[in-house]
Amino acid sequence: MGSFEKNILPESLKDQLVPIIFKGFGKCDIKKTGINYSIFAEKGRWTRLGVYAVHLSIIIMLAGAIAGSFFGFEGYVNIPEGEIRDTIILRNSNKVQKLDFGIKCNDFKISFYKTGAPKEYRSSLTIIENGKPSFNKDIIVNDPMRYKGINIFQSNYGKVPAKKPSKEHFDKDGINLNFIYKKTGKKYNKKIKTGERFDLPEGAGEFVVKSFTDSHQFMGRSLGEAFICYIYPEEGEPEEVILPVGFLNFDKMRRGKFFFSVSNQNFIYYTGLHITKDPGVWIVYAGFMLMIAGCFITFFMSHQQLYVEIVKKGKKTTVTVFGKANKNKTGIKNRIFGRIRKINEQL
């Protein structure tokens, strides 16, 4: 409670005082009794609901979590590059869950910083629906794919032996070429790409992998995938070298200075995807928003009521201010007292 006296008529005092003392309070309820006034205003009555909002938000979050666990699922799938999967293993039960579409991993890439720490895991995915590709996206750890309520996250990776060597893989990773100098038995290993030439040791000329074929015919039967290579000696005609991926000793038959083979140690990456469906997540998020708003209202806003009486006694007019707040009483009291001082000085 604060009060002061002035030699001003209640009417004009009221007009000067209301905009200052009741600043931010909205509509004032002004009653006139004779020449005296009583004025009441309040604000933030609704902030009393803040505390209920906070507790309600916890119930909403729990409801969202329960909805998610009933109507959603969470599981994992590993997809080797170039392959399609449409089933996942559920996390909690290890059961198999079929998806409405297939996920194809076109490519997986991992890159590193100079320090050797991993920089990025990137999977290029295509959604296959009814046998047709319908959606493409590269996903990285913080940028998942969302498709028809299903979320697809980059979570893991690894290497598996390539089942079937393909031209693309050899083009990408190169060819692991082994060769032995027969005279000394010295072993060599070189990684080369198709079309790349290099000098063989012992002055045996140049070696080049000319092409890759899915099926090499030899004596009327297929040897499967093979590289067609040539040796260009310093003198004389080029010599053809056939290196079937599945028959490592094939080149021994050629009886050349060197015995060549390609090692079948080609690995491809698989990407480990974390697949979730959580229809409850938006309920949980709504709970989050309500929690933050509720905490803010509960802690930093209050229901404030102000009542001012302006009474003329003799020559003087007395102003008396009564205030009430449900929170932060000291802070609000100081603010209102500041306003009273301000009026007292102005008039």
Binding site: A65, E74, Y113, T115, A117, P118, K119, E120, Y121, I140, V141, N142, P144, N151, F153, S155, H274, I275, T276, D278, V281, V284, Y285, F288, M291, I292, C295, F296, F299, F300, T330
Partner: protein
């Protein structure tokens, strides 16, 4: 001058501010306190400049990211948040009190960051899991929460010392704000910290959901932040519904801060999603 040098100089400024604040309290003189406020402000500017410089340096290294990614950077940021928060509180309440804790904690955090052999001040590249804008929102809100809890802890500690003091100590502590004011300040700090911890946990959950596909995975840091949240929630309920005040609130604030410390440092000893923040 690189950012690490600049920041280790800031350590001394914070140390000076802390000494001046303490001197002002012990000798009951206003002047050292006023100088302390200016010293703290210079420290804040240096701290901010150090963080910006470090941000720029990281871009020069080609691994640009906000300086909020490892233990060193988080300690530097913690120093910044707590002293800023305390100066704002003091300014608002027209007192020179919480600055003592702001400058002391800022000094301790910076000294630990600069001197401890366990804290590496090299700028490291971001691992894929941290490459997200949520990093900034998550770390900033959590650390304002931690800062407020640390300040509340300091006030509570002084409150208990003052309540139990005799003889000379009682005389010295007479220049401190009276007990009711300290009690109210603790409550204000905890409310502020609670709001920010809540936002910090929520931004973390939203981030986890957008990066890994689940908003809660009971990772040790998540679990401990929830334990911390419950301790402070208990404290707020005890005060608001049961009318607890004084010593009991001070003790709860101290227990809460122990949980904060464990959430910040202790959890790094356990494996989990947050184990990169070492």
């Amino acid at each position: 001058m690189n950012s690490s040098n600049l920041l280790s100089n800031v350590t001394f400024i914070y140390g000076l501010a802390a000494m001046l604040y303490t001197g002002s309290w012990i000798f009951k003189k206003k002047l050292p306190g006023k100088i302390a406020v200016y010293a703290a402000m210079i420290g804040i500017l240096g701290n901010l400049a150090g963080m910006i410089l470090r941000w720029v340096e990281s871009y020069k290294l080609g691994i640009g990211h906000a300086p909020l990614s490892n233990m060193y950077e988080s300690l530097v940021f913690f120093a910044f948040t707590i002293i800023t928060l305390c100066l704002i509180f003091d300014h608002k309440n027209k007192k020179m009190f919480t600055g003592i804790f702001g400058s002391s904690f800022a000094f301790l955090a910076m000294a630990y960051a600069s001197l401890s052999p366990n804290v590496n001040d090299r700028i490291q590249p971001l691992i894929p899991a941290l490459k997200s804008n949520w990093l900034i929102a998550h770390v900033i809100t959590c650390f304002f929460g931690y800062a407020a809890f640390a300040a509340a802890f300091g006030i509570s500690l002084v409150y208990l010392i003052k309540q139990n003091s005799k003889g000379n100590l009682k005389k010295t502590s007479s220049s401190l704000p009276n007990s009711d004011v300290m009690d109210e300040l603790t409550h204000q700090m905890v409310m502020f910290g609670f709001l920010f911890l809540t936002i910090g946990i929520i931004t973390g959950a939203v981030w986890a959901n957008s990066a890994w596909g689940s908003y809660w995975s009971w990772d040790p840091k998540e679990t401990w932040s929830l334990i911390t949240w419950f301790i402070y929630a208990t404290m707020l309920h005890a005060r608001i519904t049961r009318g607890w005040a004084g010593k009991r609130i001070a003790w709860l604030s101290i227990i809460g801060f122990m949980a904060v410390i464990f959430t910040y440092f202790g959890v790094n000893l356990l494996p989990g999603l947050h184990s990169y923040s070492q």
